[in-house]
Structure formats: C-alpha cells, structure tokens
C-alpha cells in the first residue's frame, strides 16, 4: 500500500492534479482557457477510444469480453438504484436531485478510468483493451435509470422519452468514444501506427494538463459550494468505496484478470462529470448542478484519483491472489 501511495504521488499526472487543487486553494488566477479544456477532453476520448478499438481488433471478441460488457451494463443500470436509496434517506435530497446524482454515480468518469489505467500499468496490472468498450457501454445505462428514478414511472418530464434517448445516445462524448473505438477496430494496428505519435505519445502530457484543470475546477467548485451538506459529502466518499469494491469483486467473479477487475471496480467507483451533467442539464434542468457536480467532481473524483484507485488495485490483487486468477504469480 505504501509503495502504491508513493507511486501515485510521484506520478506527474497525479502531481499536476494536486498542483491544480493547491493553486485554486491559494486563489491563484491560473486557468486553462475554456476551448482548450474542451479540446483536451475530446482528445482524451478519441485517444482512449482508438486505443481500445485497436486492442480489441487484435484480441478479438471472446467470452470474457462479452461477460465484461454484460457485467458493466448491468452494473451501470443497477448502481443508481442503490445510490438513490441512500441519497433520499441518509442524504435527505428530494426526488429529482437524488435521481440526478444517482445517474452520475452509476455512469463512469473517463478521466478516472484513464488515470487508473496509467497507475495500474505502472504496477504491471494493465487492464485488457476491451475495458474501454466496457467503459463506453457503461456511460448511458445509468442515465436511463437516473431519469426513471427522478421522474417516477409516470414520467411527468417536459421531454418525450424518444427525445431523451436521442439526447443520451448522441451525446458528444459517447459518439466520439464509440466512433474512435470503431475507427480503431477498422484501422487496426496499421492504421493506428500512422496517428500514434499524436494520440499515443502526447497522451500522458495532455492528461497532465487536463488534470491540472480538473484540479483547479474541482477546488474552485468546492470553495464556492453552498448546496452540499456534510451528509452528501459523506455519500460522495462512501459510494466510490462500496461501488469500487463491489465492482472489483464482480470482475474477479466473472473471471477477469486483476488489472481488468480493478478497472471494472474503478468504473463502478467513478462518477461521471462530463457526459451525465450535460445530459442532466437537458433532461432534468430543475436539478441543481451545484449538487451533482460538486459531489462527483470536487469530492469523488479527487478521492478516487488520490486514494481509491490504490485501494481498488490492492483489493483486486488480493482477490485474484486468493482465487488464483492471477496464476498466483505476485
């Protein structure tokens, strides 16, 4: 654990995130221009999609991939129900806000996943390339369950279900992630080689600057936060722990290797702050972004990056050690 922590806290990616947090806390005027932040998030989606697609084009789609996909989709769909129950009772949130927050926790954070991949790879536990497909598949289901929860079965929303489904599946991050995945599959290794100096060599550096920005934004949001009570803050720590451990166990249970199990755990633990907030602004404009963004971005995201990924990784190693899925070689 200590070793993991040291590894985490000497990684430039994590250090830039911490720099962002600190800069905002000392009230520096450091800021990444808006269009650059947006472009970096698109770049990260495209790069991760391509990489996953190339990996799957090499490995093919086998039973493991299918079961990982199914596990991810089911988890994505069900996790919001668990989150919703806690948010409404312990968290004392109303129905609409509970549903909106629940959708965020059921869905995933691409950047958390990417950071985890970096850290896991550094520990010689690189997740399978197909986990990118699992990630993409987990973006949307939680939005659906969140909306069901927020609006009730009746669906008194001001948007038809058709419109809503359209919004969810044409959301820019989902389209780009899946599109790049398909391009990676079609182009394969040969196609990827041509563009890899841009999409692969530059990846970690862009991730550094993006996390610098996320650190700035997360901390500023924390400073301005009004609507987040201590109960909600506690939930924003509790959910990633429980979901992370459950997801990891699920991964090991369906026979994934340690790295991929940890990645599934991280996906369950992470809360969306790109795709889902955008969808919520449209589908549930009455919900308060001050709640769901502060919880997912300012609390859960730093907690995952700084602590929880390490915990999940250790747990995956522990579980696969027990079950022997890792071949006992550790």
């Amino acid at each position: 654990m200590l070793e993991t922590a040291i590894q985490t806290f000497t990684s430039p990616v994590v250090l830039f995130f911490v720099l962002g947090l600190l800069a905002a806390f000392v009230r520096s005027d450091l800021a990444i221009p808006e269009p650059i932040a947006k472009a970096m998030s698109l770049y990260l989606m495209a790069a991760i999609g391509l990489k996953g697609g190339v990996a799957v084009s090499k490995s093919g789609i086998d039973a493991t991939v299918i079961s990982a996909l199914v596990a991810g989709i089911v988890a994505g769909f069900l996790l919001p129900f668990f989150a919703y129950a806690i948010l409404k009772t312990f968290g004392k949130l109303d129905r609409i806000n509970s549903g909106a927050v629940a959708a965020h926790y059921g869905s995933i954070s691409v950047v958390t996943f990417v950071t985890a991949t970096e850290i896991l790879t550094g520990q010689a536990r690189e997740p399978g390339g197909y986990m990118v497909a699992v990630m993409a598949a987990m973006e949307a289901p939680a939005i659906l369950s969140g909306l069901i929860l927020a609006r009730g079965a009746g669906g008194s929303g001001n948007q038809s279900t058709g419109e809503m489904l359209h919004e969810v599946f044409t959301n820019s991050s989902i389209v780009l992630l899946l599109g790049a995945f398909v391009i990676g599959m079609v182009g394969g290794e040969a196609g990827f080689d041509e563009v890899s100096p841009f999409f692969e060599a530059g990846f970690k550096g862009v991730l550094c600057i993006f996390l610098l920005d996320m650190g700035l934004i997360a901390a500023r949001r924390m400073i301005d936060a009004r609507s987040v009570t201590w109960r909600l803050a506690a939930i924003a720590i509790f959910l990633p722990i429980v979901n992370g451990l459950a997801g990891t166990a699920l991964g090991v249970g369906i026979g994934l290797d340690a790295g991929s199990s940890a990645a599934l755990g991280v996906l369950c633990a992470s809360a969306s702050y790109i795709a889902v907030p955008a969808a919520m602004r449209l589908a549930l404009p009455e919900a308060d972004p001050g709640i769901y963004l502060t919880m997912s971005l300012s609390i859960t995201f730093p907690f995952n990056v700084l602590i929880n990924i390490g915990v999940i990784s250790a747990f995956a190693a522990f579980l696969t050690g027990i079950t022997g899925a890792d071949g006992g070689v550790r």
Partner: protein, 103 residues
C-alpha cells in the same frame, strides 16, 4: 433623414443546453431572427457559475428583436421556464432601420 421604427429588444440568459428551447420559443412566437452571444461567468441567487464547457455549465445570451406583440407572446411563453431554470430576461424599446425585417 433615415426612417426608424420602434421594436422590442429581448435578451435572455440561458443554459447552452437549453438554448434550443429558447430559440424554438422565439420561432413559435412568430419572430424571424435571433443571435447568440457567449457569456463567461455570473452570479445570482444560486451563487457563482463559470463557463465550463467540459461539464456543460456554460450559458449563452440569446438576443432577439421583435414587434411589441410577438415580444409579449415570447415573454409569456418563457415565463414558466424563468422560474425553474434560472433564466434572466430583460426587454426594452429600440429603434431599427428597415423595420419590416422585424416581425
């Protein structure tokens, strides 16, 4: 001297995500045109917001010039959204040239 006529200018601050609902309302009110301006940050009863396009918290300014009548219709149509969605709406009289363009 050039002839000017009086029209109503309406400006609405809204979430970028909801921009289409506002411009649809404008068109439904019988107004031909609108223009979108970017905004960077603000503060209201619900605290500070900043343009964060990654998370979709960005807002826009919608500006439209219309006849008194259509402007009233638009204000009526938007009023319910104002209360729930944190919009900002203000309107005033302006002089325009070639008023026939502004229905």
């Amino acid at each position: 001297m050039i002839e000017t006529v009086t029209r109503k200018r309406i400006e609405i601050l809204t979430d970028k995500a909801l921009q289409k609902r506002v411009t649809d309302a404008i068109e439904k009110a019988g107004i031909i045109g609108w223009t979108i301006l970017p905004v960077s940050s603000g503060k209201g009863r619900e605290g500070v917001w900043r343009e964060e396009s990654v998370m979709g918290t960005d807002k826009v300014f919608v500006l439209t010039i219309a006849s008194e009548e259509n402007a009233q219709a638009l204000a009526e149509a938007l009023a319910p959204m104002l209360t729930n969605f944190g919009f900002l709406l203000s309107m005033w009289d302006v002089q325009v040239i070639r008023g026939e363009r502004f229905t």
